[in-house]
Symmetry: C3
Subunit: 311 residues, 3 copies
């Protein structure tokens, strides 16, 4: 019986490693890999060399996630509050939770079972954090309620005032921001991402949603369950995403619109109006994928023909 030691990429794996292939682009690496096991899909099954044991799965990436997690489980934090952390006497930190050096934990904060607060995080008064959360170093949270298993990456900013002001006779006048950020179970929020508190209602991030680095979520936005918002995308105030919506990188959504369930917003897309459930849109302004690429082809053809000189 072979005992496998760990996971490794196809080009670095040895006979005691488990490796992975899902993207056609990297299939040629199969020819030379020394991996003992390769997790992959049916399409690549007959390209595996003889010395490789194939784990052929319909959902190879999911299988890979689970195999790799077996070798690299998330380690529970060491319980305890670091002596340099400042924890308000009214805060309730579970005995199994961890609070890192130089953290500042405000009045009436609650931190649940097994949650870990990274070094130098600042958690404002009244914030509630559930169980098994991980709050990244140097992140800040205020006016917020976090469910269980929420992960914030370093520098994430949760709960600051949104961009709200009115035009007055002598300049802009700030509109008080009074809502919270409600982050449901299992949400992850990337490094240096920013999520503003609601103005009157709450900003809500639905259970299981994943938000990448440098994303902006405006006040009162409501994201459903299991949405994906990729890096540098922006969702303006009061816009609503139903469940399973994907917003690709650098896309921007105007405020006060609604994106139907399972819609997919393409990279750099500029969305100015509601999007129907299940729709695939791209372009700025947003349009169906098919229309976008037809437009691109049409314009290329016309430009070649016209040569810029008139028809």
């Amino acid at each position: 019986m072979t005992a496998y030691r760990g996971v490794a990429p196809l080009q670095g794996a040895t006979s005691v490693d488990v490796s992975f292939l899902d993207n056609r682009r990297y299939a040629p690496l199969l020819e030379t890999t020394q991996a003992g096991v390769v997790v992959t899909g049916p399409a690549f099954a007959d390209r595996l060399p003889d010395h490789v044991t194939g784990l052929i799965c319909k959902a190879p990436y999911l299988a890979w996630a689970r195999v790799a997690t077996l070798f690299h489980p998330v380690e529970p934090p060491e319980p305890g509050v670091h002596p340099t952390a400042l924890v308000d006497p009214t805060a309730m930190v579970d005995a199994s939770a961890s609070v890192g050096p130089f953290c500042v934990i405000g009045a009436n904060v609650e931190i649940g079972t097994g949650s870990a607060i990274g070094a130098q995080a600042v958690i404002g008064q009244g914030v509630r954090i559930g169980a098994l959360c991980r709050v990244g170093v140097q992140s800040s949270i205020s006016h917020a309620v976090l469910g269980d298993r929420v992960v914030l990456y370093p520098g994430a900013r949760i709960g600051q005032d949104g961009f709200g002001f009115a035009v007055g006779p002598a300049g802009f006048e700030t509109v008080p921001q009074l809502g919270r950020v409600v982050i449901e179970d299992g949400v992850e929020i990337g490094a240096n991402a920013t999520i503003d508190r609601g103005s009157m209602q709450d900003t809500v991030i639905g259970a299981g949603t994943r938000i990448d680095n440098l994303v902006q979520i405006g006040h009162n936005a409501r994201l459903g369950r299991c949405c994906i918002v990729v890096s540098q995308a922006g969702i303006s105030g009061s816009t609503e995403l139903e469940d399973y919506v994907t917003v690709a990188a650098q896309a921007g959504l105007i405020g006060h619109i609604k994106i139907g369930a399972k819609a997919r917003i393409g990279a750099q897309c500029g969305v100015m109006s509601d999007v129907e459930a299940g729709a695939d849109v791209i372009g700025s302004p947003a349009m169906p994928f098919r229309e976008f690429f037809r437009n691109v082809a049409t314009l290329r053809r016309l430009a070649k023909k016209g040569g810029g000189k008139g028809e």
Copy 2:
């Protein structure tokens, strides 16, 4: 006489709450609201239910800002320097100012009357901060002068070196960045926004200007009074905005151009040349709003007609 208790959204307000309506999209909520008072515009006056007292204003959002502020005034900070903060002995912190835990305040820094420095802020030597400013947690300021009533949100980065280097025989060579950031009275700067110090001259943010989260302002940029720069927009080095310019979300301005007063740059717009005062531009490259939408309509028509097969 009814005493009103606070402010609340139309759908959550009770008879002792003041509420607000300005966006047609939410007008149907009037039918069921239990609010005691609704601040709104003339267009909605005759749709208010009988039990609602209307505060009908020409500028309802401004009225709302003021009403809400009466219920939720900004509280002055508790004066004093937190014992964990490191304040250089040459720094001058007004007795009415507040310096939070773990702050690092450099030599010759000045902090004015009633200003509040959030936890873990780092303020470099020589920075001057006026009266009634609020500096967000974990923000950093160097090489900068702030007027009065300036607000920085968490993680804002003010005054680091700009992106300046020349191509040398063995790689890039850094150009020393020697200017400051001058932030005039009443400016607000969003979470994780970045404003670089000038290279030789100063980067200037004019009085009353509002900058949203994750905005980038390059070295030597000069923004006039009461500009608005929405989330994730970027203004390249040495570009100048006159007064009352609006730059919508994710727009990008190339360097060394000038945007005339009251111009409006649309979301995701790519501005490669000067924009006239009062102009409305959108698209990448930027063009007048009308032209942009005419182009979009024309291309859609031609693509439908041509079907990608030639005419």
Copy 3:
């Protein structure tokens, strides 16, 4: 003999200052400048006033970088670990290095000769930092190896987990992120930029590359030597840039593609497929510069002609 005192912009320089001109836009300032010396190119040589000594160079910006550096050399840090910093006993900090207040330095970290770690930086276990590096205040580094002369600006986030998860029956399941970030000599990384650790392989930033503020670099991306990535651009996971690639502001590159050496990606460009070495592309989707501007001209012409009413 005149002794020059420093450097100054054309409009503020006096007879003891050295100034600089390289952009035609500012040439009119030559007429009134009081500068003693102006570093400039041959194109402006005969426009210098009589009282100005010209330093006429083929590469004036490079010359300027060097002249300005003579007046403003980078000062070495004051060696020593600040008493408030927490340095793990197993960390090896060179005696000539500097560690600022409230820093948190993990187990087995190495910090080389003359490197300076800014206030409140957090450096995770096992990170290696070479000689003469400068790590900005409030930045975080984990799972990373830095060469010599690397500069991180404030709030930069290096080495956090990338955006990796698979769709499971009950929501997303995280894929363990196991690689590092390898940052070679002379790299600079802007304020609040984010660079994720590799998933299995490493994320690599080649020697001399310059990355601006708020840039996102996804897991497993590989950047060659002397690349330039301008503010708010994003490079998705597993994408490779060969040497001397320029990615302009707000451009976005999809994952798993390859950009050839010396290619130039224009501002706001959306790159969905490989780009050949030396190519100039712009637009979303990316196309050659010439084609892009021909398309823009063609569409404008057709829209004017058709007026939206059919041909």
